[in-house]
């Protein structure tokens, strides 16, 4: 990788673009539940006018922004609000220093493989009251939040050990960015992705990849995030240059790879990578529209609620998973009318932020209680964790239902 041409990150638009119309205040999930966070208008462009690189940060509420990006999606003036918050958070935490908890949590990709390997020991351990109390007291990882279990073999191992399926080579290739959570905690999502792609007549390849870096971005660790981005771009560009498109099944990883690598991190090669990256459902829809690839879908008699993750909204590609799900005969799928699940990635695991995440999630839980679905479908692993926690309902990635519908009856 060359280090040339890395641009610094000046704001493309100044805070003065903001006319203080307060539309963002109608969208922010955090200021909706707590007066401790002044909301995007004030935290973003409002405070930005007073911030200076040479002065110490004073806005300690900046940490309460979850980075959901919903403010950006409603702003009529195009103010990069969440980016301003992110930069202010990064500066604030650079000055204050990050906790050991934050250091540890954003590196889950490093110990994930190992934890998966020893999942038989690790999983019961993570459920043990004693350990959870210790984590709660010492690291401030909230006791009330379920820690996700690890699975072995990992998705990557499962994929590598698969016998080369006969008749699947020589087809159009598609590369899959599975993300850490699919690899070590929710391997079935990856398996479903592979099966669905193959059912659409594609040959799946799995290029080497690292954590996308979005957890690091969440704690304002721009250097760490940039490092992850640089590695991923190096690992993925050869695939792109072979003319192979890459799909992702996690909308947060996808947002990071496709937009934040260039928009916030200014990484060389990011634009080239972004051009070949697709949300997996977006890609499947395109396939149906352009190539007419439409494998038969068998009926599924289910009542499903679809929840659109914030980062999917920020990708701004509509709701491709919902469109695909609607093609399944018999499946009664409706939009879950809630704005944000509240988890905010690692945010909701942190003791001081747990109550905010819970309060935001309450709206989703109530919407789900009104709908009484058999299953809730959503594209983001964070949302799935939170939805399970809030509702106790069966919660899947849309691909897992799509796979069922694609199976020959």
């Amino acid at each position: 990788m060359t280090k040339a041409k890395e641009k610094s990150s000046p704001f493309p638009k100044l805070p003065d673009v903001c006319v203080r119309c307060a539309t963002c205040m109608a969208a922010c999930p955090v200021s909706r539940v707590t007066p401790r966070f002044p909301g995007p208008k004030q935290a973003g462009p409002g405070a930005q006018r007073f911030r200076s690189a040479s002065e110490v940060s004073v806005d300690d509420w900046i940490e309460l922004c979850t980075g959901c990006h919903l403010c950006d999606t409603v702003c009529p003036a195009g103010v990069p609000i969440s980016e301003m918050n992110m930069m202010a958070k990064a500066k604030y935490l650079d000055e204050r220093g990050r906790t050991f908890r934050d250091w540890l949590l954003v590196r889950s990709d490093l110990f994930g493989e190992l934890a998966a390997r020893f999942s038989k020991i690790v999983n019961p351990l993570m459920k043990s009251r004693l350990l959870r109390r210790l984590l709660d007291a010492l690291l401030k990882i909230d006791l009330r939040r379920d820690l996700p279990g690890y699975e072995y073999p990992t998705f990557r191992r499962w994929f590598g050990a698969r016998p080369a399926a006969a008749g699947k080579t020589g087809r159009r290739k598609i590369a899959y960015f599975y993300g850490c959570f699919t690899n070590t905690n929710e391997t079935d999502v990856g398996k479903a992705a592979v099966e669905v792609l193959e059912a659409h007549g594609l040959e799946v390849v799995v290029p080497s990849q690292r954590c996308c870096g979005i957890p690091r971005l969440g704690v304002g660790d721009l250097r760490g995030a940039r490092e992850m981005g640089r590695r991923n771009i190096g690992l993925l560009l050869p695939t792109v240059r072979e003319g192979i498109d890459i799909v992702f099944s996690s909308t947060s990883c996808g947002l990071m790879l496709r937009h934040e690598y260039s928009r916030i991190l200014n990484l060389p090669g990011a634009e080239e990578l972004a051009g070949s990256l697709f949300d997996i459902c977006e890609f499947l829809l395109r396939l149906r529209e352009t190539d007419g690839t439409s494998p038969a879908l068998r009926p599924l008699a289910l009542r499903a609620a679809y929840f659109a993750p914030c980062h999917l909204r920020s990708l701004n590609i509509g709701f491709p998973a919902l469109e695909l799900l609607r093609m399944i005969p018999g499946l009664d799928v409706r939009m879950l009318e809630a704005d944000c699940c509240g988890l905010g990635g690692l945010y909701g695991f942190k003791k001081e932020k747990f109550p905010i995440a819970e309060e935001i999630g309450k709206d989703l839980a109530e919407a789900a209680a009104r709908m009484k679905p058999d299953v809730i479908l959503t594209d983001c692993e964070g949302c799935r964790m939170q939805v399970r926690h809030l509702t106790g309902l069966r919660t899947l990635h849309p691909l897992q239902i799509l796979r069922d519908a694609l199976k020959p009856s």
């Binding site: 539309t23 909706r32 928009r263 609607r326």
Partner: protein, 408 residues
């Protein structure tokens, strides 16, 4: 790439109306806006033409208006078009949270500035405001909620008013959205009703800031009326408008249910035009630009705030298609002498002139784009703010544009 029947540019009330109208007719629709539109800024009530005095029948008033303003957007839709579009809008809000007029005329409703303002269609939560009498009304604000001062509003309305403490601790500095969300909680609004009841001195009406719930405002109204024994009404105030947010959410819910592709948060930055026909639009989400194609397009990008019009030093332009903009001469002719001139500033007449089909025309009346229609406040020859016609124009022209687009 999916090919759409109709692409609507702009997520304000005009764009939402157009998208819904087309989706109801079974069309494949995409709507794209760079933000949430202006429903959080306006959208408290559905103004039709506030200029018409409350004692005049609305139809009579509109017909006279059209006669006097043959270029006005209402002259394009006609009274019949307005009525159809408004009843379609009302159909989107079935009871209990419904919109209705006080008879077929304008009525006066109190505002957060303490003035009385004429409007036409009103959500059920504001209806009692038209009936209030100063001597029998109590205006209630909340301590620590800066956007609405009960005592100031009541001073101007010449009735009794106060700011009360909310029945829960730690709410100082709460936003309007936060309050509205709390109102959806039955126990909270019951206790609030009790708190208000204890302050009442025989009043028959209670005016509150327009934060009476997001999800179920009619239930909030019912609880408050039951606990206080008075008629309760919401008073529109500073943005973000909660009633406007409700309207936006209802439209979005309906559009998604009808399989409309909803794109929000990034601007439409380019359009491909060939032989006076739009062939596609580009939506920019850095570093990518996505192209979308349709047979027909509706431009509902608003005026200056929405980005539909852009003023340079001496010309006003329409930045997306470069459609000629009707405008009052050079910059020196744009503004009146006083900021609060009762006559609209000449610049407010600026906008896109159209044919009867809402297709943009140039200075000589020739259609410049065959498959593009303009709707909402971007249209020329109205003064939505001064004549109080904003929502009416949005709904009536959004409906007409979609109907004509699908018919062609």
């Amino acid at each position: 790439m999916k090919h759409f029947d109709l692409i609507v540019i702009g997520t304000g009330l005009a764009g939402l109306t157009a998208a819904r109208t087309a989706a109801e007719a079974g069309a494949r629709v995409l709507i794209a806006g760079r933000g949430m539109g202006a429903l959080t800024l306006f959208g408290n009530t559905i103004d039709l033409l506030g200029e018409i005095p409350p004692e005049t029948d609305i139809e009579e008033g509109i017909l006279r208006w059209i006669g006097a303003h043959p270029e006005h957007p209402y002259a394009r839709t006609g009274m019949e078009g307005i009525e159809t579009a408004l009843s379609e809008f009302q159909r989107l809000f079935p009871p209990p949270y419904s919109f209705a007029a006080e008879g077929r005329r304008n009525a006066l409703f109190p505002t957060g500035a303490g003035t009385m303002r004429p409007s036409y269609l009103i959500p059920v939560t504001m209806a009692a405001g038209a009936a209030m009498t100063p001597g029998e009304t109590l205006i209630v604000g909340f301590r620590g909620f800066k956007d609405f001062q009960g005592d100031t509003v009541s001073l101007h309305l010449k009735c009794r008013g106060m700011n009360i403490a909310l029945p829960r601790y730690g709410l100082e500095g709460m936003t309007a959205l936060a309050l509205a969300r709390l109102m959806d909680e039955a126990s909270f609004r019951e206790r609030l009703g009790e708190t208000i009841r204890r302050q009442m001195g025989g009043e028959r009406f209670i005016g509150l800031p327009a934060v009476l719930g997001l999800r179920n405002p009619a239930a909030v109204l019912k609880t408050l009326e039951n606990t206080t024994g008075a008629r309760v009404f919401e008073i529109p105030m500073l943005p973000p408008s909660i009633p406007g947010t409700r309207v936006f959410h209802r439209f979005r819910e309906e559009l998604i249910a009808k399989n409309v592709t909803v794109l929000m948060g990034h601007p439409v930055t380019g359009a491909t035009v060939r032989d006076q026909r739009c062939e596609g639009i580009a939506v920019q989400n850095p570093p990518l630009t996505a192209e979308y194609r349709a047979d027909q397009y509706i431009l509902a990008t608003g005026r200056f705030l929405g980005g539909g019009l852009s003023a340079g030093m001496d010309r006003i332009v329409e930045p997306l298609f470069q459609i000629p903009v009707f405008q009052p001469g050079q910059r020196e002719a744009w503004f009146g002498k006083r900021f609060f001139d009762p006559e609209a500033h000449p610049i407010h007449h600026a906008g896109i002139a159209t044919d009867a089909d809402l297709r943009p025309v140039d200075g000589t009346g020739n259609v410049v784009l065959e498959n593009v229609r303009a709707a909402g406040s971007i249209l020329a020859h109205h003064q939505a703010i001064e004549e109080k016609s904003r929502e009416g124009i949005d709904i009536a022209t959004g409906f007409l544009a979609a109907t004509r687009a699908l018919a062609s």
